[in-house]
């Protein structure tokens, strides 16, 4: 297995699920920001291409004990991405400062091995050529290339904004690797009217995510698979944290492997 270097800058998110109302502003902004082609019919959710998808979670209990929580799922930008090692043509990689898993669609041959490998379904395939009917193509952003059919794409943490922020820092004689938090924010972060998404450099103590990720209420999705996601979630509700990962009945939330570790040591 490939080894991924330690980045000095490692961008990540902390999403407060207790603040998400599931309105979809993040999804809408993401599509417009990243030139995702609109879909005439997106009711088949297995064919609906969205880099960021909002799930509706349930505590699994029947009415009236039931509770609902919304969970936005971008690409986790895993520290140990399962998709990168499997790509036969290096179309996806995790090798640039910032620790974002890159997806270069002109290199992608569309084998979909990465999609099979990603447990978060963060990767989407262009089943058909993108189409912007009428004058909708006028609203295409100059920042993100359009993708043809037959390639895989995914959330890039609005990586073009990182590039622009770095350029601006260079032009102003600042260090492009020590960006202040507000210099680089993703479209979904900016959009969220509830401030549920916090974005920044996980390694930088000046950024809010640095503290937030250490909260006792923080958890990551499917952590025990070893993907080491750079997206953290917060919830004060235990059932939500427990839904973040698979647990055996007797295991305690947040400490899945404790029994196993105890045995091995």
């Amino acid at each position: 297995m490939a080894h991924f270097k330690d980045f000095t800058v490692r961008y990540g998110m902390v999403i407060d699920l207790d603040k998400c109302t599931g309105c979809g502003a993040c999804m809408m902004s993401c599509q417009a920001e990243n030139n995702v082609a609109p879909q005439e019919d997106a009711s088949n959710k297995l064919r609906a291409l969205n880099w960021l998808k909002v799930y509706r979670l349930s505590n699994g209990k029947e009415y009236p004990e039931h509770e609902t929580v919304f969970l936005p799922r971008p690409c986790m930008q895993c520290g140990n991405p399962s998709c990168v090692t499997v790509c036969p043509v290096v179309a996806t990689d995790k090798n640039e400062e910032g620790g974002i898993v890159s997806q270069v669609t002109p290199r992608c041959i569309g084998c979909r091995y990465c999609m099979a490998s990603c447990p978060y379904h963060a990767r989407y395939f262009n089943w058909f050529d993108p189409y912007w009917p009428g004058d909708l193509k006028e609203a295409l952003s100059p920042d993100v290339s359009t993708r043809p059919r037959g390639v895989v794409e995914k959330c890039s943490f609005c990586h073009h904004r990182f590039m622009k922020a770095k350029d601006k820092a260079i032009a102003n004689g600042e260090d492009p690797l020590m960006l202040p938090e507000e210099a680089y924010q993703t479209a979904c972060t900016e959009a969220c009217p509830n401030g549920a998404i916090v974005f920044g450099d996980l390694n930088n103590p000046e950024h809010r995510v640095y503290e937030l990720k250490q909260s006792p209420y923080a958890f990551r999705l499917l952590e025990r698979l070893g993907t080491d996601p750079q997206v953290y979630y917060l919830s004060k509700r235990e059932w939500v944290r427990r839904l973040g990962d698979n647990y055996l009945e007797q295991e305690e939330t947040g400490k899945p492997l404790q029994t196993l570790l105890n045995n091995s040591h």
Partner: protein, 210 residues
């Protein structure tokens, strides 16, 4: 392959020796090295036959007057109709091209920036940072560049001394300009381990792709 089979009919070969082999070889080499590559290219002309020399030498303009880095770090690579019109709102020379520019662009409010053909045009998926490739940054170590123009000319055609724009050649299949830098040329610096550490310009995908 088809061209070749047509050539065959005269059957000049006797069937012995290397003769036929050599004829085939030479013919294919000519076709492969010269005919096919030139067939692939389509020549295009710039919208206006812009004369760089006149602007620099006669008008005393500097490169940066039109090609400059904006404050937000983006690069103003091409002048727009408005900036040309700041001098050429009305004809100031006898030039036919100038007249045409004024009539076609200034008067009609057509944006010439959308029409200039860029010899180094990169495809949509490439993010090239002019800010990162500045004289202040590259020139620190690369003292061989005495002027900014020399640095620019590493990638760009040296158009500064031309009196009319070079012909723009576009590959009919790929729609790339022949002068476009391709990835191996970028990698000449980016994949050079010596650069990393000094410039942070690694060869990572997301350094250049968007």
């Amino acid at each position: 392959m088809e061209d070749k089979s047509k050539e065959v009919k005269p059957a000049k070969s006797c069937g012995c020796g290397f003769g036929p082999f050599l004829v085939g070889l030479v013919l294919a080499l000519v076709i492969g090295w010269s005919v096919i590559p030139s067939l692939k290219l389509e020549e295009k002309k710039q919208p206006i036959a812009f004369n760089h020399t006149v602007h620099i030498e006669n008008a005393g303009m500097a490169c940066e007057d039109c090609h400059f880095l904006r404050e937000d770090g983006t690069f103003n690579g091409l002048p727009d109709t408005a900036s040309c019109a700041s001098c050429h709102a009305e004809a100031i020379t006898e030039s036919e091209e100038e007249k045409r520019f004024i009539n076609e662009y200034v008067v009609k409010g057509r944006e010439i920036r959308n029409e200039w053909l860029v010899y180094q045009k990169q495809p949509d998926n490439v993010f090239f940072s002019h800010a990162a490739h500045s004289m202040e940054r590259c020139g620190t170590c690369h003292t061989e560049f005495e002027t900014t123009q020399q640095l620019c000319n590493v990638c760009h055609l040296d158009v500064a001394s031309t009196t009319e724009p070079p012909v723009y050649k576009e590959n009919r299949i790929s729609t790339y300009s022949v002068n476009t830098m391709k990835m191996p040329e970028c990698e000449a610096c980016h994949a050079n381990p010596g650069h990393y550490g000094t410039t942070n310009a690694s060869n990572a995908c997301f350094v250049c792709h968007k």
